[in-house]
């Protein structure tokens, strides 16, 4: 897999005693893209960690007024959690299909993953419109919407990425079992977003 360093400037027109036609380093530029993505996801995870820390601190030291204590409906978020976990599984199946070069299967799994993501977002929206509190009602309400909203933004972004990957997977030879960084990146990101949701679900709904 060769990558990126495309040179904008003129090729090296150097003295004739340098008889090496191509410096060897050109041929094997190591691929650090997945590694870079992992570091970026660590950073993204720290944003969530900051939010979680703020939320837990609020719970510990900022008592809510009596009329602001809610029993959150658990059924819908639990179903949503299952949807999201299932979508990680379907993405993984898509990856398996890609490795076996069954591209139409792969695209089917991708579409199913995106659909599960969309269903999750729809459930989230339904919950938003039926909750007994609004964004600015109290500290818990604000924190609830900030956390789920920030996560929902990630899910939406991930679903768009999956659709892009789905479109790319339809082009012949775009992804091969050896060379499919875009696919891998979207998958890793999607698993990350799922993992964050599990923590978020535990903290917001179960704790």
């Amino acid at each position: 897999m060769t990558i990126l360093t495309q040179r904008p400037t003129a090729p090296l027109s150097h003295a004739p005693q340098e008889a090496q036609p191509q410096a060897p380093a050109h041929s094997h530029h190591p691929d650090a893209r997945l590694f870079g993505l992992i570091i970026f996801l660590v950073a993204d995870g720290m944003t969530f960690a900051g939010f979680f820390a703020a939320y837990l601190t609020y719970r510990a030291v900022n008592p809510l007024p009596v009329n602001a204590e809610y029993e959150l409906e658990l059924l819908l978020p639990a179903v949503n959690t299952l949807l999201l976990l299932a979508s990680s599984l379907t993405f993984h199946r898509g990856s398996k299909a890609l490795m076996a070069s069954r591209m139409s299967d792969c695209r089917g799994w991708l579409l199913l993953t995106a659909a599960l993501g969309a269903a999750f977002m729809a459930g989230q929206m339904w919950e938003y419109f039926h909750l007994p509190f609004g964004l600015t009602d109290n500290l818990f309400a604000s924190t609830f919407y900030a956390l789920t909203g920030f996560h929902g933004l990630h899910v939406t972004l991930g679903a768009v990425m999956i659709l892009i990957v789905w479109w790319q997977a339809g082009r012949k030879g775009y992804f091969t079992p050896e060379n499919h960084f875009g696919f891998e990146a979207a998958e890793l990101y999607w698993h990350f977003v799922d993992g964050v949701w599990v923590v978020l679900f535990a903290l917001l709904y179960l704790l």
Binding site: A15, F35, G36, V42, L139
Partner: protein, 561 residues
């Protein structure tokens, strides 16, 4: 001796014989270049432009403080100037220059790579900087800039005019994003792009410094971004995360803010530590003392730097256990920092010092930073901190760290690497004049502020009690000297870039890989294969360079006799 191409330490002064110079066309410096050297210089020049802007703002502050009354500008203008000064100096000058400029220029050389791991991401990270900077400056003209200081503490930041504060938040989020992209690039480059055969414990110290810094950026900066997103919701959407009037908690913002902004101190000084570790051995002609202990100190500072943030909050109602923990953790940071200082002194000890501008600025750094470090340990002690919190003592302390520390190193690094970047030497007379004026101006400006703080003059105010006037005037004279000190530097850089003496490939007879190529280097750094330098500090009078990992003080001292 395991250094190849050319063999170290038989250093020769090559003068570019036969080498073809590859000049990067001038317009590439204004475009979306992917070359790490061009991006490094873009960072450096952009950062220096904002240094001049931030310096002008500092000048306005010092003019206002010449008299006890608020007579030079209105008080809310003073607040805006103060906020812009802090934000610009931190986010648009020091962080981008020590990380973006020198990191980008040097790290690919040091790991033996032809560019960073992600050149396009690198260019994107740089090009986030100018829009963010001009956005920040523009806020002054559209309704007034933010007025709540660079810390933007609520409820102050919620109650001051909203437009300026929101623009400030957007600008800092952009700069933070740029910083994170840069850090991802540095970590991937250092860990994944090393030339085959080059081990982690053979890297020049600056790589380790950048690795530690980038880890801090990745772990801490996103938390600030999160806090600023919540703060902007408080301002725009009317939530009450940090607004006690709406049941929120302002101290949570302080925790989130300082979880980034204390490591930010190390984001600003660790690369400077790395640069000093590169410059000192070359101009003292001795191996860097205590290579391994330097690395472990950096790692120790990174770890401790993440768990000391609440020492900024001793007056924010922190519970006693928290005060105890953060006091002790903060005091412990003095240990790895002290190790590094003794290592630098031991590097200088009995070296053949070339007292040029680069080394003089490094010595100025050592002097100033030790002083700032001592006041830092003092400030970590709760009883003392409660006494001087929010006074000019704190202002003096952190200026000794970021100005006396990092800015001195930036200048040292410019004197050291300008020949590599431009192919021409800077004028030494002007350089030493610059160093002398900066050192005098800096100390005259900031040393008296310790006294002001100990006697109770609060920071961030445009008016003060008349008994502080004389000392404030002394401080302002120092600031004037600092402003003047920039002139010989600017003249020097402009004149030398145009007509300076040709530097040759390796004017300092250095071993590190950036000097083993032409000045300025070709587009892909070396015409042939990247040199494998496994002993970046193989200097000294001994015939065979000693492996950097085994050097002991005893051997160095006996070698000097």
């Amino acid at each position: 001796m395991t250094t190849s191409a050319p063999p170290s330490p038989s250093l020769h002064r090559s003068s570019g014989h036969g080498d073809v110079q590859h000049h990067t066309p001038w317009h590439e410096y204004f475009g979306f270049s992917l070359d790490h050297k061009v991006i490094g210089i873009q960072y450096l020049v952009t950062g220096f432009f904002f240094y001049l802007v931030g310096g002008a703002l500092a000048g306005m502050i010092r003019v206002e403080l010449v008299t006890p009354l608020s007579d030079f500008m209105a008080r809310d203008t003073y607040n805006q100037v103060l906020t812009l000064h802090g934000t610009i100096m931190i986010f648009l000058w020091i962080v981008p220059v020590v990380n973006g400029a020198f990191g980008n220029y040097l790290v690919p050389f040091y790991v033996g790579a032809r560019d960073m791991a992600f050149p396009r991401l690198n260019a994107v990270a740089f090009w986030m900087l100018p829009p963010a900077g001009f956005l920040l400056l523009s806020s002054y003209f559209i309704g007034g800039a933010a007025q709540s200081g660079w810390t933007a503490y609520p409820p102050l930041s919620i109650t001051t005019p909203a437009v300026g504060q929101i623009i400030w938040i957007v600008s800092v989020l952009l700069l933070g994003g740029s910083s994170i992209f840069g850090a991802v690039n540095f970590i991937a480059t250092i860990l994944k792009l090393r030339r085959p055969g080059l081990g982690l414990f053979q890297l020049p110290m600056f790589c380790w410094a950048m690795l530690g810094t980038s880890v801090l950026v990745v772990l801490a900066t996103p938390v600030l971004a999160g806090a600023l997103i919540l703060l902007s919701m408080d301002i725009v959407a009317g939530t009450g995360f940090f607004n006690p009037a709406l049941g929120g908690n302002a101290v949570v913002y302080q925790h989130l803010f300082w979880f980034y902004s204390h490591p930010a101190v190390y984001i600003m000084v660790l690369p400077a530590f790395g640069l000093v570790s590169e410059i000192l051995p070359i101009h003292a002609r001795k191996p860097l003392f205590g290579y391994r202990s330097m690395i472990y100190s950096i790692l120790g500072i990174v770890f401790l730097g993440l768990i000391v943030w609440a020492h900024h909050m001793f007056t924010s109602g922190t519970p006693p256990w928290m005060r105890l923990f953060f006091t002790i953790a903060t005091a412990i940071i003095a240990v790895p920092t002290g190790i590094k200082f003794f290592n630098w002194l031991a590097t200088l000890w009995q070296g053949k010092l070339a007292l040029n501008s680069a080394l003089l600025f490094c010595c100025g750094f050592i002097f100033n930073f030790v002083f700032g470090g001592i006041t830092g340990v003092a400030l970590a002690q709760v009883p003392f901190d409660v006494h001087v919190h929010d006074t000019y003592f704190v202002v003096a302390h952190f200026h000794y760290i970021v100005f006396g520390g990092t800015v001195f190193v930036i200048f040292a690094a410019i004197y050291h690497w300008f020949p590599k970047m431009s192919g021409r030497l800077l004028n030494e007379h002007l350089g030493r004049l610059h160093c002398l004026l900066t050192f005098l101006g800096f100390n005259i400006c900031f040393f008296p502020q310790h006294w002001l703080g100990l006697n109770g003059m609060p920071r961030r105010v445009a008016e003060y009690d008349p008994q502080f006037q004389l000392v404030n005037q002394v401080s302002s004279v120092g600031a004037l000297l600092l402003a003047i000190s920039t002139l010989p530097f600017l003249i020097n850089v402009v004149w030398s870039a145009w007509k300076g003496a040709p530097a040759g490939d390796n004017p300092w007879r250095a071993c590190t890989p950036e000097w083993l190529t032409s000045s300025p280097p070709p587009v892909e750094n070396w015409l042939r294969e990247a040199p494998l330098v496994t002993e970046p500090y193989g200097y000294g009078s001994v015939e065979d360079a000693m492996p950097v990992t085994t050097v002991r003080g005893r051997e160095l001292w006996s070698a000097g006799r």
